[in-house]
């Protein structure tokens, strides 16, 4: 017994050393790969960038300074300007809210048809999951650009693009929520002979609805940003206004739009955090 212990200890020490060496080696390898990516990426950027890096850094504050100088020159006349752009902001918000709502409904339908605990047919699940993967992976901008080309300038392409993307993105999260929900209520309802729709209505929905709404609110926040960006390429709203103002070089108005946007996004950020906290509690 007393003889065996040191041998064991020695063995442990050897193993420990081996493990530590292995860890160090893989850490170093990881760091080396990261450094390689960093330098490779920097080389590509230096090659592809139009302006030089140094001049860019030097110029960084020029544009914001110009904007603020323009704004201060206006004095108190500035505030009516800000208010003038609120209708544009409302268009952007409307696009986001409407497409989030429609996308939410579509996502719920997709999620039901891709959850393993609700659907038995594997083909249906695979197809729906693949479909959601594709709709989720397309940047909204690409869908919106194609529809803008086909339908002419209006807000509709943005609505279509955001709806498609939202359906895919939320659908994936909803599927996970449904698949992770407690199976016992479903069993209980099966035991009293509930139909498939009744099972979903009375056992799945009450469990997942708070989570769904929480994801939906988070998505709404993201979609407000998205719809601004789509406005920038011609889908209307404050994004389009901002693009035009930048081209005309109206510094004060650009800053007004930016203030409105940042204010909205920060407000939404807090609001969504508050709502989600209320919906699913602090610890989730």
């Amino acid at each position: 017994m007393t003889k065996a212990l040191p041998a064991n200890l020695e063995q442990i020490e050897v193993n420990l050393k081996k493990l530590t060496n292995q860890r160090t080696r893989s850490s170093l390898l990881g760091i080396a790969i990261l450094i390689l990516i960093f330098f490779g990426g920097t080389l590509v950027s230096l090659e592809a960038n139009a302006g030089s890096f140094g001049r860019g850094i030097a110029n960084f504050f020029n544009y914001p300074r110009d904007l603020f100088v323009d704004t201060f020159e206006m004095g108190w006349k500035y505030w009516p300007r800000v208010i003038k752009y609120i209708p544009e902001l409302i268009i952007t918000l409307n696009i986001a809210l409407f497409s989030t709502s429609i996308g939410f409904v579509l996502a719920v339908i997709f999620a039901i048809f891709s959850s393993r605990n609700l659907i038995r047919n594997k083909r249906v699940i695979q197809f729906t999951k693949f479909f959601m993967d594709v709709t989720r992976s397309f940047p909204t901008l690409i869908i919106a650009m194609v529809f803008l080309y086909l339908m002419g300038k209006s807000s509709l392409p943005a609505v279509i693009a955001i709806t498609i993307h939202t359906a895919g993105a939320l659908g994936k999260l909803f599927t996970e929520a449904i698949e992770n929900c407690d199976g016992k209520p479903i069993e209980g309802l099966s035991s009293v002979g509930a139909t498939w729709t009744q099972k979903i209505r009375f056992s799945v929905l009450p469990q997942v609805l708070p989570l769904f709404l929480s994801y939906g609110i988070l998505r709404l926040e993201i979609n407000v940003r998205e719809s601004t960006i789509l406005g920038f390429v011609g889908a209307g709203g404050i994004g389009e206004m901002l693009a035009a103002l930048i081209q005309w070089n109206y510094g004060a108005d650009v800053l007004a739009c930016m203030f409105l946007l940042v204010g909205t996004i920060i407000a939404l950020d807090y609001l969504s955090a508050y709502w989600r906290h209320k919906l699913i509690g602090a610890n989730q």
């Binding site: 990516i37 302006g51 992976s137 909204t140 901008l141 690409i142 194609v146 960006i229 901002l242």
Partner: protein, 466 residues
């Protein structure tokens, strides 16, 4: 039986009146919310002009767009003044004309002399034929058409369909006749147009032609795999360079699909996403420690850092990229910094929350050995949060790839700008489709890559929040 059930139900209702009242109340609230959402949807429906979709949707445009994404066409043009000078060009491009001697490009086999040795035949894929004569165009052998047609020029030099006054409407389907033009388009794949000055025929075929080697490439006669096989052969296709070099440069400089430029643009976009995420991670790591209450005792510093994160995040990457676009000009630096600044805010917030949620006991354990503050954090906190850090950063890598495409389209370059350019030309829709597929593939690849890295680094491919 049923009456006794009803009595029982009543009894239960009397026993627990509060429970039932509450249920009704919450149900009512749900109904009101549902009603409000419905009202909003109707309002949105009209304010966003969703009703106009059928009006704005031009099926002809959409069909042409979709057709061009998967098919290509050859143009055959004959001027009436010199009917033997017939030009056959791929996609109507003056730089890709068949049969032009200096290019050594033979006439395709669907264009030949008619059996009467006078007319020239353009044979479509569905075996229908357009026969070009000195003074007329004959349309023969089209499936689903029982008769043949002849288009001639009248004494005023305007085209007309011979005998059209004897035909009923059903015979004329596929024709569009105006004063200066007679057009015959039985399906999307065949189109014959006769003008006072010329005849123009579009012949569509399915597939992306010249995907690997363009029209004027010396490797064009070979398929991709034949050309690949040639790279191992010693006999040079062109004397100037080796076959391998020729193979690569010909693919890179393909004029139709511009593989070199597209892939370089894709690389730029990926670099934006990867370096932007790296930048954000490196910035957010130390800042998040300074913003966590269990590491930093100074309240003012924490408060200021929190507001900094909020501001960075609140100024959306759209606005960041506008500012950086002015500073750096178009190029990856704009994207890198726009993504980096926005995500410093996002990751900083997430990281600092993760640090605040760590288990205290491990840190206390390290403290009990008399370790310094730095060592306490190194061995008490970092092992706990490292998986969360890695998981979050990798998750953002994937969404940033999509973001980088968007920043590119707003002027920072990369695949986004190439995409806009191809769409703006209005006829290179096969390029549009190619780039869309490429973007889709890269985004899915990044998604899988980050899931795979999460799995081998932290043993789970799900996103860990805290």
């Amino acid at each position: 039986m049923s009456s006794s059930l009803a009595i029982q139900r009543e009894n239960i209702r009397k026993l627990f009146p509060d429970t039932f009242k509450q249920a009704r109340k919450s149900r009512l609230r749900g109904q009101i919310i549902f009603f409000l959402v419905l009202v909003y949807l109707i309002v949105g429906f009209f304010t966003l002009d969703v009703v106009d979709i059928p009006k704005k949707w031009k099926p002809q445009n959409a069909a042409m767009f979709v057709l061009d994404t998967y098919a290509h066409k050859d143009h055959v043009t004959m001027k009436w003044e010199n009917h033997e000078d017939i030009k056959i060009a791929f996609e109507g491009n003056y730089r890709s004309v068949y049969g032009r001697d200096n290019l050594d490009k033979s006439i395709p086999d669907w264009f030949y002399k008619n059996s009467d040795n006078v007319g020239n035949v353009v044979e479509f894929n569905n075996k229908g034929k357009a026969i070009l004569y000195k003074d007329k165009v004959e349309i023969v052998n089209f499936p689903k058409y029982e008769r043949d047609f002849t288009i001639k020029l009248n004494s005023n030099g305007k085209p007309y369909l011979v005998g059209s006054e004897d035909l009923v409407i059903e015979d004329l389907k596929g024709f569009r006749i105006t004063e200066n033009r007679v057009e015959f388009r039985p399906t999307l794949y065949e189109r014959i147009q006769v003008y006072p000055k010329k005849v123009e025929i579009h012949r569509y075929s399915i597939g992306w032609k010249y995907f690997w080697f363009d029209f004027s490439s010396p490797l064009e006669p070979y398929t991709f795999f034949e050309a690949l096989g040639l790279t191992f052969s010693k006999e040079r296709v062109v004397p100037e360079m080796s076959n391998l070099k020729l193979f690569l440069t010909e693919i890179k400089d393909n004029e139709a699909f511009m593989h070199g430029r597209v892939w370089w643009a894709m690389l730029e976009t990926i670099v934006m996403a990867v370096l932007g995420t790296m930048f954000a991670t490196v910035m957010a790591l130390p800042l998040s420690f300074l913003a966590a209450y269990n590491v930093t005792p100074i309240k003012t510093l924490r408060f200021m850092l929190r507001r900094l994160f909020d501001t960075l995040r609140g100024i959306d990457f759209l606005i960041w990229s506008l500012i950086f676009l002015r500073a750096f000009g178009p190029g990856p630096f704009t994207g890198i910094f726009a993504i980096g600044f926005t995500d410093t805010g996002t990751l900083g917030k997430l990281y600092s929350e993760a640090i605040e949620n760590t288990e205290k006991k491990q840190q206390e354990g390290v403290q009990s050995t008399g370790a310094s503050k730095f060592l306490q954090h190194r061995f008490g906190i970092i092992p706990q949060i490292l998986p969360i850090f890695v998981s979050q950063s990798l998750y953002y890598l994937e969404s940033n790839t999509r973001g980088a495409v968007i920043i590119g389209a707003m002027g920072a370059g990369g695949i986004g700008l190439q995409f806009l350019g191809a769409l703006a030309t209005g006829n290179d829709f096969e390029n549009v489709a190619y780039m869309a597929i490429l973007v889709l593939a890269v985004v899915i690849f990044m998604d899988r890559l980050s899931a795979w890295l999460r799995r081998i680094l932290i043993g789970s491919d799900q996103l860990i929040v805290r």
